[in-house]
């Protein structure tokens, strides 16, 4: 159905081809997952199928791409519109009209289908995707999952034989992601649609793939094969595969169910270990203090002034218990190729300012925005060195809560304080020394033309010593040239640059909104290492995230929000284990034992 013949793509102004020697075929009716680290050209390959590469992006495409027998060299994207449906990363930028029904009809209108056919297909698609109740709704008012489903529906109505999706679930909460994947599966099974999709969160899609096309590195030829075979050699893999490799299972399990059936042995071994040293795994499931406890980096937490200043913090000293087993380096690298800087950093520890209250405190906080009660009666206190994950479905109020902590929204009821001061009444210059937020789109924080200029500006804004931010960048992100434009950085690099810019003011409270969106496993592992170092140095960290694996790796506490209210607040293990949609894969595999990450299991096994 889709055939790549010796394809290589070179963009204008780039010496090396972005993808090289791509030569494979996607048979009709299969769901093929395109996997690989970021920056290897997954989006380029997807674009080549719909003809947007090179007709729209420019550059040179060598070789040949044919879709349903049509050569993309001679067919422009609009002439492929009836066989290929493309959905990009951001559904909002895909919409042309403003209501659900019109959007579903738009593609058919362009193709000139008769009115009666359009009417029938719109109704069918509304039912297929469960959108019937939303047919009149303006697109801007839909939730992320609904928007993604409408975007898929809008390319389905012309009945394309091929569906191309770029990260369809990255921006979605676990439940919405499952909704979207269920729809894709139904299309493959019922309509025989061929689906090619790229996704970083393999744990969500791997089990549905018939084949995996792996791009192992930039410019390397892709590898196509059965999921289990490809995963055995892949540099990117979900926790279930990681656990399978650790336990030496062959063939590798791809689903939680497969793994559970094999895991009886492993569970026994772990249970035996657990009876020997109980406190190790059970009580400190994510023992942050362990990472600085590695021999080369002495524990700095106890020296930090912050914990002493806040006797009220909920569980300030539990982490300080010395780790029973020396943490292996693998702790910071749960997946794949270990990140370039394995040693956790603690840049801010010497000079976190002394504050008169806990880094973050909200009491019966209520926020109304545009007639909607975004937050209701929220109580949340975050102590120094504590990492809290905010979870909940899209639109549950996670971002609003973060915004309230930086004073972007004023509370309509209750109080919010960061380090003793009221954020929306504090001037921005003072506020940056108390709290820093890395927004969902890190690019919003970056104005300058070069990394060096950005760092200089950050030092001025934060009234830090010149060079402080640049030093942070070099530490977090080795090998970044001064004169590179922030826009040319990869997603993960840009996030790290924004993080360094925010850290230049050494805020005791660090907030991150969806930090792992668009990050591959290696970049995520680096981020985890960096954030662990910061937490160990006494920074309080609050993450709003959909990524259950990230929360399991990092958070001491998980706070679940629904409809603007806190519905659960407790240690990660307790909250996450009890919820089917928020439990990480390892937890599901090893239940009823309470393990959260592969790193823990690896450590326990020694």
């Amino acid at each position: 159905m889709i055939r790549f013949e010796n394809v290589s793509v070179t963009y204008d102004g780039v010496a090396e081809p972005t993808v090289r020697d791509v030569d494979f075929m996607v048979p009709e009716g299969e769901l093929v997952l395109l996997a690989g680290p970021s920056g290897v050209g997954k989006s380029t390959l997807l674009g080549a199928v719909s003809g947007l590469v090179p007709h729209f992006t420019g550059g040179v495409l060598r070789g040949r791409v044919t879709v349903a027998g049509r050569d993309t060299r001679t067919h422009k994207p609009r002439e492929l519109a009836d066989v290929v449906g493309t959905v990009g990363q951001d559904p909002l930028s895909h919409f042309v009209t403003d209501t659900v029904e019109d959007e579903l009809a738009y593609g058919m209108e362009s193709l000139g289908l008769p009115s009666a056919v359009m009417r029938r297909r719109v109704e069918e698609t509304l039912d297929l995707l469960g959108l019937a109740g939303l047919r009149d709704r303006p697109l801007a008012t839909l939730s992320g999952g609904q928007q993604q489903r409408v975007a898929i529906g809008s390319v389905l109505t012309p009945h394309p034989r091929v569906l191309v999706l770029d990260e369809p679930t990255s921006a979605l909460d676990p439940a919405a992601a499952e909704e979207v994947l269920a729809v894709l599966l139904r299309l493959v099974h019922d309509l025989g649609t061929t689906v090619l999709l790229a996704e970083h969160r393999l744990e969500r899609v791997l089990q549905y793939a018939d084949q995996v096309a792996l791009l192992p590195a930039a410019g390397a030829a892709p590898l196509l094969g059965a999921p289990a075979d490809v995963m055995a050699v892949s540099p990117v893999f979900p926790p279930v595969v990681d656990l399978g490799r650790l336990a030496g299972w062959s063939p590798l399990p791809l689903t939680v169910r497969d793994a559970r059936r094999r895991a009886a042995d492993l569970r026994e071994r772990l249970a035996a270990l657990e009876t020997r040293d109980v406190p190790a795994a059970r009580e400190t499931p994510v023992p942050v203090a362990e990472s600085p406890a590695t021999p080369e980096t002495p524990v700095p937490v106890a020296e930090s002034p912050a914990p002493a200043a806040v006797p009220r913090a909920r569980r300030p000293f539990r982490r300080l218990r010395p780790a029973p087993a020396p943490a292996p380096a693998a702790l910071s690298a749960p997946a794949g190729p270990s990140p370039a800087s394995p040693s956790p950093i603690r840049p801010a520890s010497p000079s976190i300012p002394f504050l008169s209250g806990p880094p973050a405190e909200a009491r019966s906080l209520g926020v109304r925005r545009g007639g909607v009660q975004a937050l209701r009666d929220v109580d949340l206190t975050v102590g120094p060195g504590e990492t809290v994950a905010l979870m909940g479905r899209n639109g549950a109020g996670k971002s609003t809560l973060l915004n309230a902590f930086v004073g972007l929204v004023a509370p309509s009821a209750g109080t919010v304080r960061v380090g003793g001061s009221v954020p929306h009444r504090t001037s921005p210059r003072d506020l940056v020394r108390r709290v820093g937020l890395v927004p969902q789109e890190p690019r919003d924080l970056l104005y300058a033309d070069t990394v060096a200029a950005e760092c200089a500006a950050a030092d001025r804004d934060a009234r830090a010593a010149p060079g402080a931010c640049r030093a942070l960048v070099s530490e977090l992100l080795p090998g970044i040239a001064d004169d590179i434009h922030p826009r040319d950085l990869s997603e993960g690099q840009r996030l790290t640059l924004a993080l360094a810019v925010v850290l230049a003011a050494r805020p005791p409270l660090l907030l991150l909104d969806e930090p792992t969106r668009g990050l591959d496993y290696a970049a995520k592992a680096r981020l985890v290492a960096v954030l662990r170092g910061l937490a160990a140095a006494g920074h309080a960290i609050v993450l709003a995230t959909h990524d259950v694996e990230l929360a399991a790796e990092l958070a001491h506490r998980v706070v679940l929000l629904a409809e603007g209210e806190v519905i659960a607040d407790g240690p990660t293990a307790e909250v996450v284990v009890s919820s089917p949609s928020f439990a990480p894969q390892v937890t599901k595999i090893l239940a009823p034992q309470e393990w959260l990450t592969v790193a823990q299991v690896r450590r326990a096994l020694g």
Partner: protein, 357 residues
Amino acid sequence: MADRRSRPPLHPGAWWLWALGLGSAATRTTNPLLLGLLLTASAYVVTVCRPDTPWSRSYSAFLKLALAVLVVRLVFVVVLGSPIPGTHVLLTLPEVPLPHWAQGIRLGGAVTAEGLLFAWYDGLRLATLLVCVGAANALASPSRLLKTLPGALYETGVAVVVALTFAPNLIADVHRLRAARRLRGRPDRGLRGLLQVGLPVLEGALERSVALAAAMDARGYGRTADVPAPVRRTTAALTLGGLLGVCAGTYGLLTAAGGTYGVPVLLAGVVAAVAGLRLGGRRSARTRYRPDRWTPRACLTAASGVAVAALLVLAASADPADLNPGVVPLTAPALPLWPAAAVLLALLPAFVHKEPS
């Protein structure tokens, strides 16, 4: 919502004709009672009939704009004085002496009740016109109106619609980036803050436009059907010739000498241009999903607006004094009975649109 589902929405053209009819009726009178009646009638119809879309919320923005226009008009009269000779002085502001070359301009001085009242009448007329346009916006968004364009103009229409959504997106971007300035520890208010986010905002808008263009292309925007060469040539000739005819005809109408040939040439030009557009529509293979139809209700709605305009034009020429009450001497405006009854016709859409319960 239930309303919309059980019945298809009215043709957007009907709402625009209705609202523009009310607007042109408003330009015929300065009687505050009639204007007030027009405002109330249009506001009632909007509250009863408007769909639940983001566009319909623009009505309050238009109300605010109209209020601002009214206030500005009054402030100007207070500060700059009014040419209306009046005897009832309300207050006297200190007058700023101006050099002789600024003769005819006055700053400060006496503020008369007559001057204020005249400005109020005049401002109210303009405000009513604005509110009527706002009503059209709220009842049928301009993008829906553009969708009813003939096939040959469709692609231009889409371009205009996309441009229309550009502004709200731009404003959202400015808000987001100013918020981000606060995160960097820079002041998020003031003009400098606005200027510094200018470039990133434009960059973002440009990127979004490119993404949208790519999405539209991938969904078949701009597909054309094969048209035989003779038809293509005829289309080009008709359209060009028609436009030339329109230009020449208009010129003829406006110059004294061309009175004889003006009208026929203009008409011929229009006919040729329309024919060219219709032929050009063949190139586009598009069809329309649930096109808006001119239902009896739509026709009634449009007719009620046109009737209000026509009746007020008639009334204005028959009895100008009632529709434009004088301010010298000061008198309370009277409500002219027949024009008022005519304005009430504007309520018709509210009753034909209502769901029979």
